[in-house]
């Protein structure tokens, strides 16, 4: 309750017309962003625990602790940056679908390597591709990332449930599917 209420209350504050329309002063906008970040962060712990409970077994989510969530979510995917997916480790990518029907979702993960195998929840290989991140995105101020490409694959996620896809880097079974990249002249 304590961890969820902060976001609920700050969302209430942000029903104020200045926050809705963007007519607040800049230092207020900065404060809104900070409060949202902090309250969303608290909710992530709840989401992580919720996912743990939904899973049959309790995996170690990150660095040995089921409650360490700081790096479980990537906050900079909007600038194609993510320290988790840019690491060399094999990852279990768990995708939660809040909709009441099955959805097909295009997953785009910033990556450093180019050779991957993506497996679906049944362990079957999934078609994936590597697509370059556009140069202007790489140059966005404040973006701290080594990723130059994105791994793209389609995930099918059941209604109000989750699916776990496995991303393995440089595995012997991996066959890189590189796109054709050419300048239009």
């Amino acid at each position: 309750e304590g961890r969820v209420s902060a976001l609920r209350e700050w969302m209430g504050v942000m029903q104020h017309h200045d926050a809705v329309t963007g007519t607040e002063k800049q230092h207020v906008a900065n404060d809104y962003a900070l409060k949202l970040y902090k309250s969303v962060d608290k909710c992530r712990q709840v989401v992580a625990e919720g996912l743990n409970k939904l899973m049959v077994k309790q995996p170690q989510l990150w660095e040995g602790s089921p409650l360490v969530v700081d790096r479980l979510f990537c906050e900079n995917l909007n600038v194609s940056a993510c320290p988790v997916t840019e690491s060399d480790d094999s990852l279990a990518v768990t995708i939660y679908n809040p909709m009441g029907r099955t959805v097909s979702h295009t997953v785009r993960l910033p990556v450093v390597n180019k050779v991957f195998t993506v497996l679906d929840p049944l362990g079957k290989s999934v078609s994936s591709t590597i697509v370059p991140i556009p140069a202007p995105v790489l140059a966005i101020p404040g973006r701290q990332s080594k990723a130059r490409d994105e791994l793209v694959f389609e995930a099918v996620v059941p209604p109000v449930g989750f699916a776990t896809y496995f991303v393995r880097q440089n595995s012997p079974q991996s066959v890189p599917i590189e796109p054709i990249v050419r300048k239009i002249t």
Binding site: K25, F73, P132, G142, I180, V181
Partner: protein
């Protein structure tokens, strides 16, 4: 067209410079679509008369019609092709770029843009950047917006439903808040062109067959409505804010349009959440 990309229910045609030119439906019907970035110069106003305020946080007031960007950037667009996915990466100028994404298994065109920092210091002019789509649909001055957050409302250019309006500012007088989507229809052809956005923006249809969305603003004067600051966020490096956003474009029959854009908007709003965990051993062990 120089080349085309296949989406699930239509083909997208591009010219030899990578510019989108048309969308072709399965029945052979084609709609010309010209997409461009343009900008409005913000009116500085003089803030002495109540009706001559600057363009700012509360009001959008351009100093005349939008201006196209002269494409002075010599960098050629990049075409990226993978099985089932086509992307065109294009730099519009030194501070605007875009990716057009067409995938064989989806029913819409994705437009990913990066804009900023908007240069204002060299010429001392605030600028308000728009994305415009010019189509050859006959729309009779009508635009549909979701301004009340529930239904698509019919907006007629230079007209209000409950009083006689004299429009004195051609752009501002026809701009509407766009929360999730706007659409234009050609009743004769039975086609609807819908643009969904990922954040609330301003939008309009200032000429027949055209829609525009304002994606970024940077103004230098306060509009004296209360905020007491110009809209001039400087960003992390003090140079100005860089934003990245996305639009999704749908072209379908009027009958099918509501089903498509409502489903897509809901799916976008309730997009799946992606989380990560390291694992050792095999996927089977993890499972």
């Amino acid at each position: 067209a120089s080349f085309s990309a296949k989406a699930n229910s239509f083909d997208v045609m591009f010219d030899k410079t990578g510019q989108m030119t048309a969308i072709r439906l399965p029945g052979g019907q084609s709609v010309a679509v010209d997409q461009s970035f343009e900008y409005y110069r913000s009116l500085p106003g003089n803030n002495t008369a109540p009706q001559f305020r600057a363009s700012g946080a509360y009001v959008f007031r351009p100093d005349g019609p939008s201006k196209p960007y002269n494409n002075t950037d010599s960098e050629a667009p990049t075409l990226v092709q993978s099985p089932g996915l086509t992307e065109i990466h294009r730099r519009v100028n030194e501070y605007i770029s875009q990716v057009i994404r067409v995938a064989a298994d989806i029913d819409y065109i994705e437009l990913d843009y990066v804009c900023g920092p908007i240069p204002v210091l060299t010429d001392g002019v605030g600028k308000e950047i728009i994305i415009r789509f010019d189509t050859n649909l006959t729309t009779n001055g009508v635009l549909y917006t979701d301004s009340n957050g529930r239904q698509l409302l019919k907006r007629e250019r230079n007209r209000r439903p409950t009083w006689d309006m004299t429009v004195t500012e051609a752009q501002s007088g026809n701009y509407y808040p766009i929360n999730t989507r706007l659409a234009i229809r050609d009743e004769r052809q039975g086609l609807q062109f819908t643009v969904l956005n990922d954040r609330a923006q301003g939008g309009a249809s200032l000429t027949d067959g055209a829609v525009e969305l304002m994606v970024h603003r940077r103004t230098l004067y306060d509009d004296r409505f209360g905020v007491n600051e110009p809209l001039n966020e400087t960003g992390v490096d003090g140079q100005g804010l860089v934003i990245r956003g996305q639009l999704r474009l749908l072209l379908s029959s009027v009958e099918m349009a509501a089903e498509q854009h409502r489903e897509l908007a809901q799916r976008w709003y309730m997009e799946p959440m992606v989380t990560f965990a390291k694992y050792g051993g095999t996927p089977e062990e993890y499972l």
